[in-house]
Amino acid sequence: MPDSESITVLLQQWGGGDSQARDRLMPLVYDELQRLARRAWSGENAGHTLQPTALVHEAFARLVDAQVDWQDRAHFYALCARMMRRLLINHAESRNAAKRGSGVAPLTWDDDLAAQDASFDDVLSIDQALTQLATFDSRKAELIELQYFAGLSFREMSDVTGLSSSTLDRELRLARAWLKTALSASA
């Protein structure tokens, strides 16, 4: 595992305009999110509910020195959101490819598991719609990423983006509405 000092340094370099630092950060964050997700699932820690917000916050706690300034923090969360999205998309795509015709019987028990298989297709549709949204309103697409893929609360998003909660509410409300129309259109 990368130590928090080096991640913090990379974040600061990125904040200073060094785009290579960002490229080096991406795989570190990606791997860490994946590792945390799997660890949460496996026997060693079976009492864990799995939600993006928990993973992202844990990743922050493990990877980043808590003393970083708010801009680096904002960068980190934005990156986490992006990596979480990529992680899920990659997995959904590979699962979809592997699973064609395997006829897995659907089970339901807990709310964690509801409609799991269908969710792969849904998450791919969300990804496509989000990509489309970014072509004409990238800010809203980023906010949606933060809200859903990083699971940030309103307050945290406000801290991270510097936007007031009323602005956030307005932007996200429209973005969500647009995404839902896009999802309905593609369904």
Partner: protein
């Protein structure tokens, strides 16, 4: 989508979301004419806006789960007792759940095995675990998944073996099946049945949530995990139980704060569940919050009513259901339903179209509102009296000959009696427990029958319109009331009866006034007056009343000059008719007095307010809601004039009478408490002051809810006191909270916000944050400039506060100017107000810090003199 078009979409969408549904529809139609593409895009977005957001986050969470599980699972294939694990079903809040099969092959049965996330300490613990388990195993109910077996692993990790159930989680089932509201309620009743059964067996579920309730193919619920949470919590080996892993979204305040959990905690969770089933959302957005924040949200706030964010297909959720849900999930266990049974019964009542118990308090409130104006008539506490009295007492001037008059009266008496008998027959005799509850139903039936045109005689129809409209208005049903008066006006026009038309317009004007449509109210009253005959001797008392109504609408719009002049005209008329219109006389004297008080003419104001009260005491006595209002007004004036002991005496009497006459839930009782609290504060009786100001906040919070502007208003008053008592942190918290409420409850430039910002600024100064305080003071000043007349004392107060913040930030010149300008304005306008003494205090502090002995002595002399 081009960015330009998107920009326009964005603007249009934002505008549309500020409109009420009907206005939104109209606006979209007009947009359709101008730009069809834009209109259609916005319409689609608005429709999507109403849909549940779960389709955005649920797939993300589910696929995260799936991604995480795509590793080899060490549990698969393991043997536990008689069972072998086939697959992992889920990892939930309290442990992992597996699907397993029996290996001794006595009979084929798939089971679910729940492996707890904790360990049992010793043999004793294992023994207790077994006993508990046996209690649970005895629960046999068609809607409860049974517990079959259990045990512990070699490392003492306990596990439970349960019936394997397939189905969809409850909320998901409601959505995919697109169940109607009634179908959801029926399903919910089955859940209640299961929980009530468990409670009779002394088992509390403790973790009711949609994921623990699966709906099978027959549409029946199966409840999982009954009592499991308790089994976990009883485990004494606390070292290995990290946190009680309940689901915070459904946990009651007592669970969150670690208080004892009882059957009413399940009632709470059922309330949350019903909330989600009906509205598609959870009452609190807890995602991403820290535990302390969750605790605050769940324990200190009341959620939005479910009907306010119900999805399109569930529109029209009634207030009854709102009340049921909010009663079930009341944060104080004592205010919830006492049992699941009681909750279920109330839902049953709703399904049968009967009034629900949950609204009992609100009905008392409506009734008390009605009583406020008709305290005497209410003695019989039945609507009959009012309908009858209002319809029959009216003296019709437009029917000239006595014979016509007599004939008309007879016809009307007969028609009205028949009408009342008819509508009473329509109302269900089962529901007559509490005459106030049936009042509304009777009215609705009456209004409907009237509309169906059962009365050929238009004059009588018009009278009934007037009566029903008046009662609707007293019950706060303004749109319905407006319809009745509008119908009456139309009939009067057809008949060519100007007096009847004028009475209709007066009624309509009052309704518009109550709805805040002030200029329309004014127009209605003006038209009513214009219809009266030119001869001032005709309908004199009526004319005076109408003048007073007109004045009221002008006063509310800040037009004191015309309001005063019309009230004076009304008084001149009424003095000529001492036997009639005493009610109008008191009200007019009161209204004029209050207006003069606001304008600073205290002597005449006091004289008028005393006259109003004397008249009211003579004609209707002390136990009357109008009399109470006059007492309150006089006390406020006496306080403003510094006659504190007399003001105190009156306020205390008002408070007693209000409680007595109008009940504990009287909606405006907080006004009296707050005013009394402020009075005590000015009298330096701080303990009393805090007591009443806190009581006011608690009351308004309970009666009007946490998001009401008046709640914030009372909080600011309390904050002011705490600030004065040098408890800045408490004051700051209250002021910040109040501002947050205002930001949702009133427009951005409302003077309430200015006043609250000044309180907020004051607390920030005391907390050593002058630059933030400066921002708040400037905001207050901006609002004053926009919303208040020039030279208003509130602006002066803002300048004074701003001056102090600048002084603290080392800008003494600017500070001095502001501080010196502000004080004389305040001293002239509000000589006894705390804002004024504060402004003086700031000057003294300023000159003392500057070491300017001369100025210091001057202002100290002002303070002490």
């Amino acid at each position: 989508m081009t960015p330009e078009f998107w920009k326009r979409v964005e603007e249009a969408f934002e505008h549309a979301t500020t409109l009420a549904p009907a206005a939104q529809q109209r606006w979209l139609q007009s947009l359709q004419q101008q730009d069809a593409a834009l209109a259609s895009q916005v319409a689609q977005l608005l429709a999507a806006d109403d849909q549940d957001d779960a389709r955005l986050n649920a797939p993300i969470e589910a696929s995260l789960q799936a991604m995480a599980s795509s590793v080899d699972d060490p549990w698969i294939g393991r043997q536990l007792g008689h069972y072998r694990i086939i697959s992992r079903i889920a990892t939930g809040g309290m442990g992992a759940v597996f699907r397993a099969e029996r290996t001794d092959a006595q009979f084929e049965q798939d089971v679910a095995i729940k492996l707890m996330g904790s360990h049992l300490a010793d043999a004793d613990a294992l023994g207790r675990f077994r006993t508990e388990r046996q209690i649970l195993a005895h629960m046999q109910h068609p809607y409860i998944a049974s517990l079959l077996d259990g045990g512990a692993l070699s490392d003492n990790t306990p596990y439970l073996v349960m019936e394997y159930v397939t189905g969809a989680p409850l909320t998901q089932h409601c959505q995919t099946q697109q169940l109607s509201v009634d179908a959801r309620l029926q399903l919910f009743l089955k859940v209640c049945e299961a929980v009530a059964y468990a409670h009779r067996n002394l088992v509390v579920h403790r973790d009711i949530k949609p994921g623990n309730i699966l709906v099978d193919d027959h549409g029946n619920p199966r409840l999982l995990d009954f009592g499991i949470a308790k089994l976990m919590a009883d485990n004494p080996d606390t070292a290995t139980v990290t946190v009680p892993r309940m689901t915070p979204d459904y946990a009651s305040p007592e669970q969150i704060t670690g208080q004892p959990v009882t059957t009413v905690s399940d009632v709470y969770a059922l309330g949350v569940l019903l909330y989600e089933m009906l509205s598609g959302q959870r009452p609190y957005q807890l995602q991403g919050l820290r535990p302390a924040e969750m605790e605050q949200l769940v324990c200190d706030t009341t959620p939005t009513r479910p009907s306010e964010h119900a999805t399109a297909q569930l529109r029209g959720l009634s207030r009854d259901l709102d009340a049921v849900v909010l009663k079930a999930m009341h944060r104080d266990p004592e205010h919830r339903y006492t049992s699941v049974q009681a909750l279920a019964e109330d839902i049953q009542r709703h399904l049968e179209g009967r009034p629900v118990q949950a609204r009992g308090q609100q009905w008392r409130y409506l009734a008390s509102k009605f009583m406020r104006r008709h305290a005497l008539a209410v003695a019989a506490s039945s609507i009959t009296l009012l309908l009858g009295v209002a319809a029959l007492v009216y003296h019709n001037h437009s029917v000239t000959s006595e014979r016509d008059q007599a004939r008309f009266e007879a016809a009307r008496a007969k028609a009205v009696t028949g009408f009342l008998i008819d509508i009473f027959k329509q109302s269900n005799p089962d529901e007559t427990d509490g005459a106030n509850v049936t009042a509304r139903e009777i009215l609705d039936i009456g209004a409907e029958r009237l509309e169906q045109g059962l009365f050929a005689q238009p004059r009588i129809r018009g009278e009934l319109n007037h009566s029903i409209g008046t009662v609707y208005s007293h019950l706060g049903q303004y749109p319905q009331a407006g319809q009745q008066f509008t119908a009456m006006i139309a009939l009067a026009e057809q008949l060519g009866d100007p007096l009847m038309q004028a009475r209709g317009l007066t009624g309509l004007g009052r309704v518009l006034f109550e709805q805040g449509e002030l200029s329309r109210a004014q127009a209605s009253h003006e038209q009513a007056l214009s219809l009266l005959s030119a001869d001032p001797g005709d309908n004199a008392v009526q004319r005076a009343t109408m003048l007073n109504d007109l004045a009221e609408s002008q006063f509310a719009q800040g037009d004191y000059t015309h309001a005063d002049s019309n009230n004076r005209k009304a008084l001149a008329i009424l003095e000529g008719y001492p036997q009639q219109g005493t009610e109008s006389l008191s009200k007019t004297q009161h209204d004029l007095g209050v207006s003069l008080q606001i304008q600073g003419h205290f002597d005449e104001a006091e004289q008028l307010l005393r006259q109003a009260l004397d008249n009211a005491l003579q004609s209707v006595g002390e136990r009357n809601s109008n009399t109470l209002a006059y007492m309150h007004a006089l006390a406020a004036l006496l306080h403003e004039r510094g006659h504190n002991p007399e003001a105190e005496k009156i306020y205390l009497r008002v408070l007693d009478l209000e409680r007595d006459l109008l009940g504990e839930d009287y909606v405006d009782a907080d006004a009296t408490m707050t005013n009394l609290g402020r009075l005590y504060s000015d009298m330096q009786q701080f303990e009393q002051a805090e007591h009443f100001l806190r009581a006011a906040v608690a009351h308004v919070h309970r009666v009007r809810g946490p998001d009401h502007a008046y709640t914030a208003y009372d909080m600011i008053n309390l904050a002011n006191l705490l600030h004065q008592l040098e408890r800045p942190q408490e004051a700051y918290d209250l002021a910040a909270h109040a501002l947050e409420i205002y930001s949702r409850a009133v427009p951005d430039d409302h003077p309430y916000i200015a006043s609250a910002s000044l309180t907020y600024a004051g607390t920030l100064i005391d907390l050593g944050r002058p630059s933030l305080a400066e921002q708040a003071a400037r905001r207050a000043l901006d609002i004053c400039a926009k919303a208040l007349p020039e030279g208003h004392w509130l602006a002066a107060s803002a300048r004074s506060v701003l001056g102090e913040t600048l002084f603290l930030q080392n800008q003494p010149e600017a500070a001095e100017t502001l501080l010196r300008e502000a004080y004389p304005v305040l001293a002239a306008a509000r000589p006894k107000d705390r804002a004024t003494s504060n402004a003086l205090r700031r000057l003294i502090r300023f000159y003392s810090a500057r070491g300017d002995a001369e100025q210091l002595a001057y202002y100290q002399a002002l303070r002490d003199g």
